[in-house]
Symmetry: D5
């Protein structure tokens, strides 16, 4: 586990016999542009169908806050958050959407998904 | 039947020969966080296709109110409400969506569905 | 034909060679709760693909107004309006959505569809 | 070509090798009720995938304005506009949605589509 | 590469092993009508699944600005932007939607898509 | 007291030493057009600063429901509701706004106020 | 009285002893540009405090419809409607707002008021 | 100080030499109807200009939560919250707005203000 | 008259005996930042009470378009547009609001007014 | 000048002979709670009437960003930003509104104003 992953705390899925969706929306994500040093802001929407583990909400908040002063690109940070969460809670499927505020007159959205090979018939939406 | 299930009153489906959708939206659900003792608030959207029974609206209101001072987690309460309703009215299919207010800057949504094995070709949406 | 059905006037479909959708939205439906005698209010959305007949708009308005002082449940009235319209205009397919105002802190929606056996490959949406 | 069709001017599709969608929304359509003589108002949304021809925007505006003092029913006018456009520009597929303002407390929407037999695997949405 | 394409700068896709969506919304596109010389305004929404390359945001801004004083039709400009981006970054799939402001009482939307033959099972939405 | 006024129940103002505003919004008012017999629908917004009495909410609901089958004009019913409430609860000031649904393509709003001569320096807004 | 004024029917104010506001919103006004012959569209909001007379709603609808094929400028038509209504119903005060649809990328609003010299302390808002 | 008032913690106003506004919006207030025992829900908006003291946010949250199982009327609870806050923090001026959810088809709002006699020229809005 | 002012065409006020408001909203203003050369975008809202002259709509559109490739600051352009219009049409009062799109994460609004010394009691709003 | 004030760059007011309003809205303000160390987020709306100086937009952005890792309370930071801006640009009048995101289920707004003694008849709104 990398240092950021260790921030994530899990708890057992209370209903593993059912495929159900958990969604957390955090509109206060902020990191720093690695080129200009300017802050970036995004709304992060995490949706997943848990297998044996769920992510504890407070630890997920601290995990997202840990990016506050990191320099990282839109496309990279979205994929990294998804990768970290997949490794720690090993969901059946998971989707991460990051909606970044206007920069240079352009707003951007990055959307990435993970599908567990064992659960390839389990979908969000 | 458990104690909460006994609060739920049913009436016969007036049109069992048709698959049709009933949806009840209650934006005033409240329970208590089992760790902090702080109140949680959610909007509960129940959708189902009835088989022989429908849930009576007033009894459903009292059922949801019975959680007012219970300590229970987001994921657990959503699955429990779905399980109780499925056991009492035995629908062809049923979906429960719980949209929880912001906690720690994050809003959460839990969505769970039940499909009767006898009616596996009957869907909401 | 029952008494309410006789209120419905029809006219010939001007384009029966095409499957096209007609939708009428009436936000002023009102009937009476059969238990409490209290008025209920709903928005009624009718969508259909006509076969040989269309429903005349003014007669449809009078048909809906005829429920003004009738005591009838949400689930029953929705299915009855659909049944009456199906019998009178015999559409290829028809959908009726009734969205009832808040009662006891809960708003309700009932959605029912009819599919003509002769036109089982003709859909709305 | 009928008189109204002659109002429609076309230009060559600049990219016939691609299936792409063109949509024009006109919220100022008005005609007259053939029974009461009262004006009707609608928003007309035209969507199509062009084959060899596109409709020129200004001529389409004049075409729609030509209904200003015509007496014609909702269902008939929607199908007629679609038929005229199909005949003149011969699209791969075309959809016309007419959303009429409230009359007698009821708002109405008519939606009709055309599919070219040669392009039966080309769809809007 | 044509002159406009040379404005587009690329960077390597940080996660080529995953199909994920990148979307950039620019509401400030402006060009000039080739007939009347009047300015046109549009919101441009670009969505794509990258293969080996992503488009750098600042260069994409300058690319769109380069149309500021060009005379070009709605249908042509939408297809040209899509073609230029496809040639430069060679995505797995790409969609471009241009929503033009009201002209002559009519607003217009053009939507075009590209699908790489190598990735014909990779979709946006 | 007239028959409708007798439906209104009062309770003592719990804080008569303070000028404070009470507002009740009822979006389900319905009466009948005295000429055509057609139902009318309105949203009724009552705002007042109580003197010694407040209007009990349930009785106010029954009072408004009593108009359900009465034939009465927009302007008259708005003034009558205000007059009845003023006579029964004798407020320091009171305002009644009735917003009627579209009839003949026109929506209407009637707004009337009462000012007690004893409290001519007490205002809502 | 001019020809258009004769279309306006009045009825006695049911509550002349009170200053209260009557507002009628008609979103379907249409006339013709005197220069180009192109149709114009507007939403007309009439607000007044009646003295002895009110304007009958149906006659007001026909009055507004009488402009359908008249060629008249924005500024002129707004002042003319106000003048006609003032002459026929002689209100204590009256305001007319005409909100015209986009023409040449610009939407326009004209707002005019009349104040009776006898009632110079009676205001809307 | 009464028991509820003791829940309120204060801190010194960091800028007493300026009249400035502090506003806290809590959309999760809930108490119980003293007659029916049914839960009530409201959004509470507190606005004040501090004199020497400000209310600490967390203690204010606990203060509002203390009403969770209290039976109290709309009008009474609004005035009591205002009275408690005035007594504890002694503001220059303070306003409390409570917006209650629909009961019996009617939503209600209570708005009360306090003005310190020493600061009678200091206003919110 | 400067060069830009000469673009503005006027016509006589059709109702100079009344103080009434004319408002034109243009959401497509664009100029260029004098420092960076980057395009700026704004919505321009002009409101005035005419004296003897009104501004002709088409000429006003061309006047605003003349800034398309000019380098000028937010504060300066807003004051200049107001000054030019005041000089050409000499209104009783005039207000200009320019709402600029997000730059560097900040959106800006500039609002300036002119009051004719002869008409110092004539106001907009 | 303190360290933060030195970040603010000014430029001469291009129209000091007119009282006009400049407004900058920044929805991405973030600082840190001095007690919990948790990040706070706010939308900052600055409005002022300049005297001899205006604040340069880019420097104002950097000024606001300088609070990113500072620990400071809502009430204090709002007053400090206002004080710093007043000292550097010495406006005729200035208003600062800070709207903080939900914390503990409560959202907060702080609004402070400055009035120059020399310009006590110059107002925003």
């Amino acid at each position: 586990m990398n240092k950021k992953q260790k921030l994530l705390v899990t708890f057992p899925n209370p209903k593993p016999e059912r495929n159900y969706i958990i969604e957390h929306v955090q509109p206060e994500f902020t990191s720093v542009c690695p080129v200009t040093g300017q802050p970036d802001f995004a709304k992060i929407t995490l949706s997943y169908i848990p297998d044996n583990l769920c992510v504890e909400l407070k630890s997920y908040k601290f995990y997202l806050q840990s990016y506050r002063n990191d320099g990282i690109y839109f496309e990279a940070v979205t994929n990294k958050i998804l990768d970290d969460l997949v490794e720690v809670i090993q969901p059946r499927t998971m989707r991460l959407i990051a909606e970044f505020n206007v920069r240079g007159g352009i707003s951007s959205l990055i959307e990435a998904e993970y599908q567990s090979p064992e659960f390839d018939d389990v979908f969000i939406d």
